[in-house]
Each structure stands twice: as structure tokens, then as C-alpha cells.
Assembly symmetry: C2
Homo-oligomer: 343 residues x 2
């Protein structure tokens, strides 16, 4: 059952492995039942509950589990204060608004600030013998954008303004976040995570020039710092179809792409099947299509992967809350049954 790990290393597998971003979440009745009893932060911070949620997607037949956590958790020990506001999403109570705010940031001991996440990792590994567990963290840019904007954003006006006007403060902020993220992922692997994914969900707001100058060097350092852990490292980003070729410089086993580019084209740009594995890339909204249309969309992704070793089927972003769980189950079955790789 190490189908997922084999694919990360581009080793042949019996069938294409599949898992889903946000595969444990609000689209599941079991999850919603838990959320009626506990608020989100309680679920995230209580290892017994977070273990339970992490395991929820297992009956779907997925080939990997992903830790139930939130990319913003490291901002709490950094002193930014995190609340989840119903209908609005995450809100940081003390966003970074001055250069002093940035100067004051200090990395923290992971076991102290985020020990509950590590306990969740250990808890899942203790009860789940078969499915590999993926740990994860937010990428430095995406964390920085939340830390600066104080929540979600449309234009990333404060973030980009800082980046353009105060490059030194920007570098310091990225340095701290890179250091924290590296230590956090290292601790997750030491606790038992068998792969790690770095989520750069909002980096597609940048231009390729700015990405190369102000983001990529930090990512290169982050990925290099994880090389000795001996687990697959996955870089996920959205909106980056214009500069996928730049991701070749990342020392990552897997590049995870969104749905805004054909998978075969993206795979070539990031280095091709001889160099790197690819993860993706069904539009999460395809799960709202009738089953026969969904089947076509799933097959289209698989055909573009062409059955070459190193494809992990996933969505281009997370499952939406209104998704029908039966549709998710169907996708797993179709991926596992598919054998029509030639057009």
C-alpha cells in the first residue's frame, strides 16, 4: 500500500494513486457532526479529535492521508492571534502592520508552540498501519500574505506594498517564516509524517519577476533544508502556470499544480516525467458535474498523465464544502480502475 510513496519517487505502481486536498472536511457528514460539538480551533488543537478527522477519508479508498491541521497554526506562537470567523474565514487579531512588528518576530521551539500537531501525527501513525501520512505547512509567501493582510485578500495590496517598499523587512519576514516552516516540517517528519507538502496557495498573485526575486530563493532554501529527511517533498501552488519552468530549481520530488493548465504541458515545464513527479489536477468544481461528465474529466487528466510513473491524482485545489461525498468516492474508483491511457 505504498502506492502513493512509490509515485512520489516515480516508481511504477499498479494503479495511479489518488488523494484529495481537504479530503477531511466540511463536505463530510461525519466532519460536520464533529463541528457541531467542537469549534474549529478545538478540533485542530485536540490531538484525539484531529486524529479522528485525519482518518475520516479512509473509507473513500484514498491512497494517502493528510494531517488535519491548518496552514495558519504557526502564526499563533508567532503572536499574531488566530480566529476563524464563520462565513468569513481566518482572521488574525494582530497582523503585521509596522516594520517593528516584523523586527519583533522570533522563531519558536516547535514542540512548545505546535506540540499538539506533532501529537496528532504520532496518533495517526499509531493507529493507521497502511496509509502513508502527509504532513504539511504553508509556504513562506502564503503565510506572509495572511500575516500582513490579516486574513484573505483580493489584491494583496499590503503584502506587495511591503515587498516593494521595504525589501529588507520582506527578506527578514521570509527568513523567519522559512526557518519556522522548515523546523515545523522537520518535526512533523520526526513525529512520523511520511511525506510533506508545502502549500503556496496565493503566490499566483505575483508576477514571475517578483516571484523569482522575492520568493523563490526562500523556497529553494526551505526545500534544500528538508533534503536529509528522506521523505518526498511536494510543492503546491496555484496561479503559477506562467512560470512553472522556474520550479525546476526547487529540490522537490513532486510538483502539485492547479487545474488552469493541461497536466502534460505542466509536467514538461517543471522538468518532465524523467525528473519530477506531478500531482493534480482536476478542477474541484468538476465534482459538481453529473457522474458521466465527471468521469470524462477524470479520464482527461489521466490520459494527459499517460500512465507514466510519477503521477499522483488530486484536485487542483481543495474540495469545496458543498461537494457530494459520493462524487469523491466515484473519482477514487475511476482513477483506480482506469486503463485507457492511450487516447
Amino acid at each position: 500500500m505504498a502506492r502513493f510513496l512509490d509515485a512520489c519517487y516515480r516508481r511504477p505502481t499498479d494503479v495511479t494513486p489518488v488523494w484529495f486536498m481537504r479530503q477531511a472536511g466540511r463536505y463530510q457528514p461525519e466532519y460536520r457532526a464533529l463541528r457541531e460539538k467542537y469549534d474549529l480551533l478545538t478540533l485542530l488543537r485536540t490531538p484525539e479529535l484531529a486524529v479522528q478527522v485525519t482518518l475520516l477519508p479512509k473509507p473513500l479508498g484514498v491512497d494517502a492521508l493528510i494531517l488535519f491541521a491548518d496552514i495558519l497554526l504557526p502564526l499563533v506562537p508567532l503572536g499574531l492571534g488566530l480566529r476563524f470567523v464563520p462565513g468569513k474565514g481566518p482572521v488574525l487579531e494582530h497582523p503585521l502592520r509596522t516594520l517593528d512588528d516584523i523586527a519583533r518576530l522570533r522563531p519558536f521551539p516547535i514542540e512548545e508552540g505546535l506540540g499538539f500537531v506533532l501529537d496528532t501525527v504520532r496518533g495517526v501513525r499509531a493507529v493507521e498501519p497502511d496509509l502513508p501520512l502527509i504532513g504539511f505547512a504553508g509556504a513562506p509567501f502564503t503565510l506572509a500574505s495572511y500575516a500582513i493582510e490579516g486574513g484573505g485578500s483580493r489584491h494583496y495590496q499590503r503584502t506587495k506594498t511591503l515587498l516593494y517598499r521595504h525589501p529588507d523587512a520582506w527578506t527578514r519576514l521570509m527568513d523567519v517564516l522559512t526557518e519556522v516552516t522548515s523546523a515545523y516540517l522537520r518535526a512533523q517528519v520526526q513525529a512520523g509524517a511520511q511525506a510533506v507538502q508545502v502549500f503556496d496557495s496565493w503566490v499566483g498573485a505575483l508576477s514571475p519577476e517578483v516571484y523569482r526575486r522575492a520568493v523563490l530563493p526562500h523556497l529553494q532554501r526551505l526545500f534544500a533544508s528538508l533534503a536529509d529527511l528522506g521523505v518526498p517533498r511536494i510543492y503546491f501552488s496555484t496561479g503559477t502556470a506562467g512560470w512553472l519552468a522556474d520550479l525546476r530549481t526547487l529540490d522537490a520530488e513532486v510538483i502539485s499544480i492547479d487545474w488552469r493548465i493541461d497536466l502534460d504541458r505542466a509536467w514538461e515545464q517543471v522538468g518532465g516525467p524523467a525528473r519530477v513527479a506531478i500531482q493534480g489536477n482536476l478542477d474541484p468544481l468538476a465534482l459538481f458535474a453529473p457522474p458521466e461528465v465527471l468521469a470524462q474529466e477524470v479520464r482527461a487528466v489521466l490520459r494527459r498523465a499517460g500512465g507514466r510513473p510519477g503521477h499522483i491524482f488530486n484536485l487542483g485545489h481543495g474540495i469545496l464544502p458543498e461537494t457530494d461525498p459520493d462524487q469523491v468516492r466515484r473519482v477514487v474508483d475511476w482513477v483506480h480502475q482506469f486503463d485507457g491511457y492511450t487516447q
Copy 2:
């Protein structure tokens, strides 16, 4: 002073022409003064006022004017009801929520439903002898997404659900919007507009497969229907870096791109300088950088264009309201003074 029109047809120009999306708008004190006296819909619907607003950017030294209008105006005679809610943006009072809503849609006579826009075009042409006037309209997908969602959207869940579940209704909706958009742009040109731009601001939410199947054929028809007008046709989209090569099939003189891809790379993908002109592509947020950094960003775009005929300098999307007008003025000057096309 037909620098802009020459560049649209890839004829050599003395300097690179430049204009800005939303160059007449809230970032200008003169515009804000008008908005204190009139609400947005009144400004849009009163030709004398809309003419005045259209002309506001002239002192900046831009090489073209764009009609002051809103892409959603055609949804009013289509019966959807349009309000602008401060702090929230456009809201449609009667969004398309059933198949019957779509079946009932009927194209309308442009002079009847949108005569005030045509009067604005005539008014600008009557007083402005030098600067070419660009007319515009929303692209069918982008209009459809507003019509279905009832306003802005994050995931386009209703739009994509309709598209996946009811392809016939989707086709009918796109047919009506294509017909209306074609007639509307034709009327603008007949009233005096010297170029037209089609804004597909949100089409980047799709996958390339769905774009090819459910959007591109309608765009092809739209652009072909405008060929006999003898004015440059510009297609603008954002988030489409993954499938720019597909835009080669559009019969358009100019492709306008966002900032999420290097301009030279995008130009090659859409057909290259021998086949099509390119418009763009500075990140609107670069206008928040200190002047010396902004100057570097402007030069980087111009160097990628390489001084080849057929580049129109613009942003990758509209000017944001908080932009300093002096920064906009600087960009115009730098573009006009630039002669460092070789690296």
C-alpha cells in the same frame, strides 16, 4: 497621434504607446469630486458626465482613451437589475437562477437599451480630435458569471455547475450574450469608437479543457463578427497563462495579458510579433512601489517587448483606487522616454 492604432496593427511607432485599464477612476481626485455629486450609475448613464470622465486621464499623457462605462451595463436591458453597493461592488437584483430565467433572455436593440453609451462615444469623438477612443464590452463568459452568481464570486460554483450540468442552457446563454456583445461593440464603432476591447476578466477560473469546449467557440464567433468593422479588436483575459496558445485561434489584432507571465513568453505563445500585437503587462500593484523600483519594473516590461512593433504598454488589470496619480504619470513618461530595449 495614432501611435496606439499603429501599434495595434504592428506598424512601427516613434515610442511605445501606453494607456491604462481604469485610467479614469477613483484614484483621480477629479473623479472622486464627481462621485461626491453623482452616484456611479448616474455618472455612467449621463453622457455629458461620462464624456467628462472619459477625458480625465488626458493630462497624464496617455495615447488612447477608453470609454467610461461598465461591463455589466448590458445586463440591465436583459432584465437582471444592476446596483453598485458601496464596499461590495456590483450586485444583480435578478440573477439567473433557473433554466427558465435563461430561456427567457432576449437580445435587445442596442440604441434602445444602451443608447446613452453610444451618446458618450459620440460626445467624446466630438470634442477630442487627437486621442483614439477605445470602446469595450464584457466577454460572454465573464458576463455570464456575473449574471449567474449575482455579483463577484470566488469559486464560480453556480456558473460552473450550470456549465457542467446543463450544457444546452449554457450554450443558449453564451449565444445570447455573444449576440448582444457583438451588436453592442458594432454600435460603439458605428458611433465612433476606433478600437474595441473585450474584457474576459474572470475566465481564468476555468480549466483549459472547459475553456476550449464551452467558451472559445463563442469568442471565435464574436471576434469574427467584428472583422468587417475595420478597427483593432483586443482580447483581454487574466489567469489564462496556462492556455495562451489557444488564443491563436481568435481573429484579434491584439492580445492583452495579465502580469502573471513574462511578456515575451506570452507574446510567443499567442503567435509572436509577426502575427499579433501584445498589450500589457505591469502588475497594478507595482504602482505602489517607490519610483526607482517602479522604474525598474516598467523597464523590465519594455525590455521583454524588445522594441518590436506591436507592443502597447498597459497594466495587467485595472488601476486600483488607492494608486497615486503621480505614479501613473511617471509610468507614461518613462514608457515614452525609454530607449534601452537591449538588455
